[in-house]
């Protein structure tokens, strides 16, 4: 079934395309905040519709392949994985937009304190997204398991960021509006990392047919 193989290859290509668009959106949204560049933030917001359109296109392609090719076994797992991770990627795009929106608002205000936790979180989160997509391309490796493990680091940083900001807010209630926005941004990044974890879990399912969602630290 050479045509079907080609179609599956095209589908994979589209997902990787979507993945790289999302990676750029996440990177730029964090940059727009840390470098206080609101033009870049606006660009992220304006480009989101491209991500949405590609997501819809991939979904339609998956449904078409299921209807016309009646995929079985690894093909079936590949297509169902494609549908699910596309949703995760699209949500990441939305969260990048949320970061960009907060960036525009926060860039209007004086800098509360230098950004420390957020760039760290962003770095780990972006690595997780990249590795999750790599795992999707390369298939059965240890990579998806590592992505799942790294989610804990992001969770810890989210909590750390929150308690630090809380201390600031108690000392000086005037900064609450802008400090709360900072906690939002950390939360958005934490959610992006969760979506990367979802992708890694789906990749394991795709490779092994084993569902590892809702498991504490799955092992290969």
């Amino acid at each position: 079934m050479a045509v079907f193989d080609e179609e599956l290859g095209n589908l994979k290509g589209k997902i990787l395309n979507l993945g790289s668009m999302v990676e750029v959106a996440v990177r730029d949204s964090v940059c727009s905040l840390v470098e206080r560049n609101s033009d870049l933030a606006k660009e992220v917001i304006e480009k989101d519709h491209l991500i949405n359109a590609l997501e819809v296109g991939i979904d339609e392609e998956c449904v078409r392949l299921i209807a016309l090719r009646q995929p079985m076994a690894r093909d079936l797992r590949f297509i169902t994985t494609a549908m699910k991770i596309t949703t995760d990627l699209e949500r990441m795009g939305d969260l990048a937009v949320n970061i960009a929106e907060r960036a525009i608002e926060m860039n209007e205000e004086p800098l509360l304190k230098p950004y420390v936790n957020i760039p760290k979180m962003a770095e780990i989160t972006q690595e997780m997204v990249r590795d999750a997509l790599d795992a999707f391309v390369r298939g059965c490796t240890k990579l998806p398991y590592e992505v799942i493990k790294r989610d804990d680091e992001v969770d810890e940083l989210t909590a750390k960021n929150f308690s630090e900001l809380l201390a600031f807010m108690i000392r000086d209630p005037k900064i609450i509006p802008v400090a709360v926005k900072r906690t939002y941004v950390a939360k958005y990044l934490e959610r992006i990392a969760d979506h990367a974890t979802n992708i890694a879990e789906m990749v394991i399912y795709m490779c092994k047919g084993k569902i590892v969602r809702h498991m504490e630290s799955p092992e290969p």
Partner: protein, 254 residues
Amino acid sequence: MVENKNIFEIKDFNIYYGHFMAVKSVTLNIEAHKITAIIGPSGCGKSTLLRSLNRMNDLIINSWVEGQALFHGVDIYHKDTDVIELRRRVGMVFQKPNPFPSSVYENVTYGPRIRGIKKKSQLDETVEKALVRADLWKEVKDKLNESGMSLSGGQMQRLCIARSLAQEPEVLLFDEPTSALDPISTTNIENLLQELQKTVTIVIVTHNMQQAARVSDFTAFMYLGEMIEFGETDTLFVNPQNKLTEEYITGRFG
């Protein structure tokens, strides 16, 4: 004692046509009141294996078997086996609908009459019951005296099922029962299989993998006479364990 849920127990079973080994060392249990599908490419031995379950292969000159094939724990191929009785208990429906060239009524009562049932009321009852079970009664109840050959393909196939059911079998073997039928008749037969499962055990050979996926509880994949993989249908079609199975069901064979 726990009741044995396996109605057939096949172990290290070989079937030969002369020197040709058509089925090689197959081990397989068939569970009662389940639908077991056997899939595989043409010539893989799946029909041969199916036909061995009620000794239809006896009719093929030069065919012989080795190994164990038990029906309710009793050797199917034992010299004392009453083959006629075996085939009453283990009925068969073929690819091409093959009603007898006689009336619908006579088709269904053929078996019971051979068994010596003569009473009209009893035969009437058998006909209605079998046709209801085969989901054909509503369509033919006013034309029981018309020829079975005058029915549509799907109806003829259900008539053949009714004819088997009139024998009160425990097992029905189906060899490609819908490959000559249109999609609607196919759906009717598939729905019927699921209904019949409550009262009989079903083994079905099919080329249509989607059909196996739709109707069966267990699926066996055969290739070149060997049983490559056997398991729950859900697992076999979503996450097969054997590479050959994977290649076959994803259409990347050879």
